[in-house]
Amino acid sequence: MGALQQIYFRFCFFFLDFLCHIYCFPYQKCTFTDMLSCFKDKVGDVLLPGDVFSFQMPESITDSKPEKVVCGPGLRRNGDEVLVCKSGILRHKQPNLYWIDSQQRRYVPGKGESVIGIITAKSGDIFKVDVGGSEQASLSYLAFEGATKRNRPNVQVGDLVYSQFIIANKDMEPELVCIDSCGRANGMGVFGAGGLLFKVSLGLVRRLLAPQSEIAKDLEKMFPFEIVVGMNGRVWVKSKTIQQTLIVANLLESCENMTAQQRQTLFRRVADGSI
């Protein structure tokens, strides 16, 4: 064979080999005890939707009980397999929690999350609340602190409420409440006379609410203001003057695509040159 042909064939084999390695990954099979190590190997890697971690269950129950694995957002259970359904980086938290760190703007209601909702309608015993999801959530009028059948809460159409989901899955209409399991409000309920409500991406919300949030620390040093952050991407800000409110709102919206350094220089400029 000519030299060109040889190079051509070699290139084809190399390419096929490369493809095989790519497509082998989705069909990774391992036993349950190995699955944890499969997971641990991939922590910090970029995964794509369609990747599968499958394993065989131990048949005899006399084996040492395998540990439970908790799949967070982005991972889904399909029988005995774990499927990746969002593209992102696999993260791990002790002892057995794995999730995919991804970005999105569209909110999907999740149980236990605190969100800012806008009352859109009042019908009988429930309020219809817009939370930015695919359908409106319902909020019972008895789900406020100190509310009874005779003592109705003072909630009007168009009010902002900070509430928590008690039911939020793909099969049922989401339901909200403004009290916790003991019946206390804990800051939930109607808020906001004045102030400004705007929308940010979900990733920024998580960065704001992270335990060691740098954005929150930078914001603390500015002027006095109040902020309510909803997990559905909605943020409400209130400050002494309208100008300050607008400044904070613009800063938060621009924080999304800035590195830490750019953000700090911007904040410093505002703190120096502003009112």
Partner: protein
Amino acid sequence: MANDNAKLSKNLLRMKFMQRGLDADTKKQLEEEERRIISDEHWYLDLPELKAKENFIIEERSFGPCEDLKYGRMSFKGFNTEVEKLMIIMNAPNEEELEEEEISRMETDITDEDMARRYESLVGSMKKKFAKKRERSAIEDVNQNATETQKKAFLKPQD
């Protein structure tokens, strides 16, 4: 009244208004008897027990517990004092756990030997405190004798 109970039928005794006056023991006995009756008369499937498949994978939809997100309402520089109090209360559960861990760590810093030594001296001082006058003088005599015997020995001065 005891005679009446013997004459009343079991069905009547099982009725709710008759059971209010009964003790817990008699109630349990009645329940057990009922269960036995049910299992004898009623039909049941003679199949091996199907164990529900234990799922070792738990799904969790929310980001909150994954990243330990804080409480959503925040207030800075005293703009809203109620919200600042809420921030401390709601974010505290994590800090309280840390404090408890620290306290437990502090306790284990003092080893068991140190604790035993402390208790030795404690027992002695508490004993003295609650001892009656005669016993107290007896204890002091013992201590003085011990010290005196030590002093009686002559110490040769070294050149």
